[in-house]
């Protein structure tokens, strides 16, 4: 009882010392609650509960900032000798002092956060912006995610402040903790891309990105990157992140407890409290700097000899970074040439690390044996009229005969040596029998596309490439059409929309790769949803006879080209391209205005709307000349303009 009374006294005194922080947290969270409740920018039909959910970006950002500040300030008494004498002289163990700090921080954040969000939710309910049944789980889950995220960030900040003895180094260590893992994984990915030409992506890296980078982990648990502040947050999809966040927060708390318990009260020589913290900084920074250095060399040597670049990285980069780290860690420029044993160890570690990358990369670059492959997906990135590459890789599943054909084609093209001629990029995904997934990227010469027609005509390939072939009509409320010069929303009921979708799908199924390489789309259809579930678009090619006939029945001349409009002016801009090391530069060389009707008619016969020239790598367009065509719309009362391109000669 006496012990508890003393501990409650400690809690009380600690709270008193954090009065400023308590007021700040209540003010910030309270203001958020009021501001969001009053916000009048809710799109029609959208549930207000989105803003009360886990992924509310303002609450998310506030949690990180409060976590960092509170973690940094938890044991402020460690920075003053007289305060250390007072607090460590009191009748408490270090564990009790730590527990008091942690409990108070938890209460200071959690109580206002939960109460403010509940108040916010109540206001939202009373204003009719939210429905209790559909939002309650999201609101409580939001509280849990933010509390866990707060504990996680606060403990990271606390650890940085316990390990370093100087404010600058504490901040540096915190930055390393928060951003180091993410940067490391990014550089790791860059290295693999530089060393292994066939590397596209790795499931392991994608997973590590989501879990190891502190801010990414917290963001994933909250669903911050998802649509509208995590509106579709579900426990099933976020549970792994949530559990990992909870485990990480607990482990970090235990580490901090251990560090606080053994941390010397007296100031040590050097910038870090423990020698291992110095090693952690030294080797983490060394690895990051050398990976960055080698990646940079790869870029500036345009993918030169990897062995030479790595040798330069180890033999020149490591000693240089070693000297810089010596100066930073000791805060003394004279220390540049010290620590020979460290230099030797760093050379060895970096040689092993870079060698490991090289070996792992080579192993990872091998195409898996046919019998080990369960299914595959293929993307020709030049085929931009299809879905986004990542989306295709997710949706396409070639199996059986289709898989064998695709595998054989990929096996052949992966062996083709692309020379100076035009090359195309092919992405492939193999799902293996053992449950693993491998991704590859190949550069193939133009003639390797001769055999692509067989792949393109596969049912699964087309379904994977074009979302319009996968969708049902139920969630689409309207159909919009445009030819780049005019746009209409078609007046169709549900049955007609379904019929139109089937007609479009039939035409799309008949489309061949040969036609794509010869033709440019003449229009675009959008199946639009009013529930923000994502619109689906598809192009109309000149050979889509069924679609064009149906459109003409609706009174729309979907076959109408640029030359069929009444033109008032064409501005021809010629551009000059300059190849740079990293970027290509384009500047205007000359401009010509054509107003002569005869010239305009002749010229417009060959023009295509720029927005529809998506497959220009397959059906080449002239990128040097851009045409701005001024035309009268069908009613003839308005002059509009559209950007056009002409085919390459």
């Amino acid at each position: 009882m006496e012990g508890w009374k003393r501990f409650s006294g400690l809690l009380k005194e600690d709270l008193k010392s954090k009065l400023g922080m308590i007021v700040a947290v209540w003010y910030v969270l309270g203001m958020f609650c009021l501001l969001f409740s009053m916000k009048m920018t809710v799109p029609t039909g959208e549930m207000r509960s989105l803003y009360v959910g886990a992924g509310n970006t303002s609450f998310f950002a506030a949690t990180i900032i409060i976590g960092v500040i509170m973690g940094a300030g938890t044991f402020r008494f460690l920075y003053s000798e007289s305060k250390i004498d007072l607090y460590f002289g009191l009748p408490f163990t270090r564990k009790q002092l730590f527990a008091a700090g942690l409990i108070n921080n938890f209460l200071i954040f959690t109580v206002p956060m939960v109460l403010c969000r509940l108040l916010f939710f109540s206001i939202s309910l009373s204003m009719g912006y939210s429905e209790y049944e559909s939002s309650a789980v999201s609101v409580w889950a939001g509280c849990v995610v933010l509390v866990l995220g707060f504990l996680f960030v606060m403990n990271l900040s606390m650890l940085a402040f316990l390990l370093a003895q100087n404010t600058g180094y504490r901040i540096g260590l915190l930055v390393l903790f928060l951003f180091g893992p993410g940067t490391g994984i990014m550089l790791w990915e860059k290295m693999l891309k530089a060393l292994v030409p066939s590397f596209y992506r790795s499931e392991l890296l994608e997973m590590l990105k989501g879990y190891l980078s502190p801010l990414a982990l917290f963001g994933n648990a909250a669903g911050i990157h998802e649509y509208a502040d995590g509106a579709y947050w579900t426990m099933e999809s976020h549970l792994p992140y949530l559990l990992y966040l909870a485990v990480a927060a607990v482990i970090l708390s235990l580490i901090n407890l251990g560090v606080f318990a053994i941390r010397p009260a007296e100031r040590r020589s050097g910038m870090f409290t423990f020698r291992f913290a110095e090693y952690l900084v030294r080797y983490s920074c060394m690895a990051l700097a050398i990976l960055w250095f080698v990646s940079g060399l790869q870029v500036f040597s345009s993918g030169g000899n990897s062995a030479v670049i790595m040798a330069i990285g180890v033999l020149i980069g490591v000693p240089a970074v070693h000297g810089l780290l010596n100066m930073i860690i000791a805060f003394d420029a004279r220390k540049f040439l010290t620590g020979r044993w460290h230099l030797l160890a760093e050379l060895l570690v970096m040689a092993v690390l870079l060698g490991g990358f090289s070996l792992w990369g080579k192993r990872g670059g091998e195409i898996p044996p046919k019998e080990n492959v369960k299914s595959a997906a293929v993307v020709l990135t030049a085929l931009r009229s299809g879905d986004d590459s990542d989306q295709i890789l997710r949706n396409m599943q070639l199996t059986g005969e289709e898989l064998f054909d695709a595998y054989d084609w990929l096996w052949t093209v992966s062996g083709e040596k692309a020379g100076r001629e035009t090359t195309y990029e092919v992405l492939a995904k193999y799902e293996l029998q053992n449950g693993k997934t491998k991704y590859f990227k190949y550069q193939i010469p133009w003639y390797a596309l001769d055999e692509f027609e067989k792949i393109y005509n596969q049912k699964s390939f087309k379904e994977g490439t074009y979302e319009a072939l996968r969708m049902d009509s139920l969630k689409y409320a309207e159909v919009q059409w445009t030819n780049g010069l005019e746009s209409y929303t078609l007046d169709l009921d549900e049955e007609e929309r379904q019929k139109f979708l089937e007609i479009y799908q039939q035409d799309l199924e008949k489309l061949t790769f040969e036609k794509i390489c010869q033709q440019t789309p003449i229009g675009k259809i959008t199946f639009a949803s009013t529930k923000n579930q994502g619109d689906v678009s598809g192009y109309i090619y000149p050979g889509f006879h069924k679609v064009l006939t149906y459109m003409s029945q609706l009174g729309i001349d979907a076959d109408k080209k640029v030359s069929d409009y009444e033109l008032t002016k064409i501005v021809v801009d010629n551009y000059m391209f300059t190849d740079g090391l990293l970027y290509d530069v384009r500047y205007l060389e000359s401009e010509k205005i054509i107003t002569d009707p005869g010239n305009m008619t002749d010229m417009s016969q060959t023009l295509f709307v720029e927005d529809f020239c998506v497959d220009s790598l397959l059906h080449a367009m002239n990128p040097d000349t851009e045409f701005t065509v001024y035309y009268r719309d069908s009613a003839g009362r308005t002059v509009n303009s559209v950007k056009c391109l002409a085919p390459a000669k």
Binding site: E2, R6, S82, D85, F88, G89, F92
Partner: protein, 218 residues
């Protein structure tokens, strides 16, 4: 009883205390003298559990100094006591009452009055001597078994020093307290201490050596 066995404390390459052995008997006033940097304050910090020894051990009534059971019997009064800018003598008393259940609040207020200290004035406005008096009053009223005082006479005028001596003596005799004082003021220590020691370059010297130093100083 405070038992210090073979204690060594190093700060980097500097050995502050080198295998120090010392026993402070119960109900005594032990005076420890030493030149600057001798390790006097470090020894007090080790006994109070602020610092940890590199070697050896310290026991208070047979218990390790890091344990609450030992720490609750000790009040450590460092040379520079910490207080917040808006603290008053009264809030300081309340602060200590949270941690020392036998803190005698009424007696504390009585002592403040005796020292002519306004209990509601800001501590920050006090002189060094006034602050010292206030913390001595708090230390005695905490009613712990052991009191560790660092440079307790520093900043006090002769009259107040006399009062403090009297207070400490009565605390040792009346409350059966054991008081360890480290100070430069050898004469003052000589007046009140029942046991004395001299800390020189990290080691405790014998009584003869102590007497010789007293003579030299005289």
């Amino acid at each position: 009883m405070i038992e210090i066995c073979n204690i060594t404390k190093r700060f980097g390459n500097f050995t502050c205390l080198d295998h120090v052995n010392l026993t402070i008997p119960d109900v005594s006033i032990y005076g420890l003298v030493g030149e600057n940097g001798a390790g006097k304050s470090t020894l007090l910090r080790l006994i109070s559990g602020v610092y940890r020894p590199d070697e050896g051990e310290i026991k208070i009534d047979g218990k390790e100094t890091s344990r609450v059971a030992a720490k609750k019997e000790v009040f450590y009064m460092p040379d520079r006591q910490h207080y917040e800018r808006n603290d008053t003598p009264l809030s300081i008393g309340r602060f200590y009452r949270n941690f020392y259940p036998e803190f005698a609040m009424e007696e504390y207020r009585y002592l403040l009055e005796n020292f002519s200290l306004d209990e509601n004035a800001l501590v920050d406005s006090f002189s060094k001597g006034m602050k010292k008096q206030m913390f001595i009053a708090a230390a005695i009223c905490a009613n712990t078994k052991y009191l560790l005082c660092d440079e307790v006479f520093d900043g006090l005028d002769p009259q107040i020093r006399k009062t403090v001596n009297k207070l400490l003596k009565s605390a040792a005799n009346g409350r059966k307290m054991t008081i360890l004082i480290v100070s430069h003021y050898m004469e003052e220590l000589d007046k009140i201490c029942t046991e004395k020691g001299f800390l020189h370059r990290g080691r405790i010297l014998a009584q003869e050596e102590w007497n010789r130093l007293l003579v030299e100083e005289a």
